[in-house]
Amino acid sequence: MPLILAVDDSPSMRRMVSFTLAGAGYQVVEAVDGQDAYEKAQHQTFDLVLTDQNMPRLDGLGLTRKLREHPKFKTTPILMLTTESSDLMKQAGRAAGATGWLVKPFDPARLLETIQKVIK
């Protein structure tokens, strides 16, 4: 069963992501910010990371960069899920090594489609 790391500082967003993913059969681990996510990634191997951008301590782009430096996560699909939508931010995402950029709010069916497309 594929394991997904869902990162967002909003408890309700985490709940909705978990709800949608678990409903489709994925196992989900939640993290409250980039730092929490990175610490959890040290102990587990995730098949996909779905992360918000604006979070305290370590933001989504920062988390992406750190994960890409880690041999375990060099090729793990990392999807950004954020309110940020500017071309500048998306370019930064691409440069940081993100796999894709989703602008909130997500449509559950389309999110699941996208995850199916990129997950190994």
Binding site: S12, M13, G23, T83, E84, D107, P108
Partner: protein, 148 residues
């Protein structure tokens, strides 16, 4: 809120009654307080809605209902409701931004109008965020997906 090149102290100034300044700052802080309450109300309602959604879908997962394809449409509709429920997160971001702006104004007003006693520490003022917030900027792109 940015001063141009001349220091603020050297720019033309206005005189305002003390009670008026207090009135304005008070109004700003009262609405910040109200926004906080609004944020709490919306978050609580969303939690309750999510709980009901989960219960409803749980009920529809009953094996006795497995052979009713018409219920698939019901299940999908319920799952799709998560799209609208996310407005709570967007609302919270927007409210948070508005709150920061109002607080910045309130404390800026106070630091400029309240003077300084001998030995008193300098006023500390949070910066007023300048950019429009991400939620406003993203209005037309909500829901978009781009794979790199």
């Amino acid at each position: 809120m940015h001063a141009p090149n001349t220091p603020l102290a050297e720019q033309p100034a206005l005189q305002l009654p003390v009670l008026l300044v207090a009135e304005v700052q008070d109004a700003l802080l009262v609405v910040v307080h109200d926004l906080d309450r609004l944020d709490g109300l919306v978050a609580h309602a969303t939690d309750r809605l999510m709980a009901r959604l989960t219960t409803a879908l749980g009920g529809l997962a009953d094996p006795a209902l497995a052979d009713l394809p018409a219920l698939d449409a019901v299940r999908n509709t319920l799952r799709a409701a998560v799209t609208e429920l996310q407005c709570q997160d967007l609302a919270a971001q927007l409210v948070g931004h508005v709150s920061k702006v109002l607080q910045g104004c309130a404390y800026r007003l106070a630091s400029e109008s309240m003077g300084q006693e001998d030995g008193e520490a300098v006023p500390f003022v949070d910066e007023v965020p300048e950019c429009p917030n991400p939620v406003t900027r993203a209005e037309k792109d909500g829901g978009s997906i781009e794979l790199f």
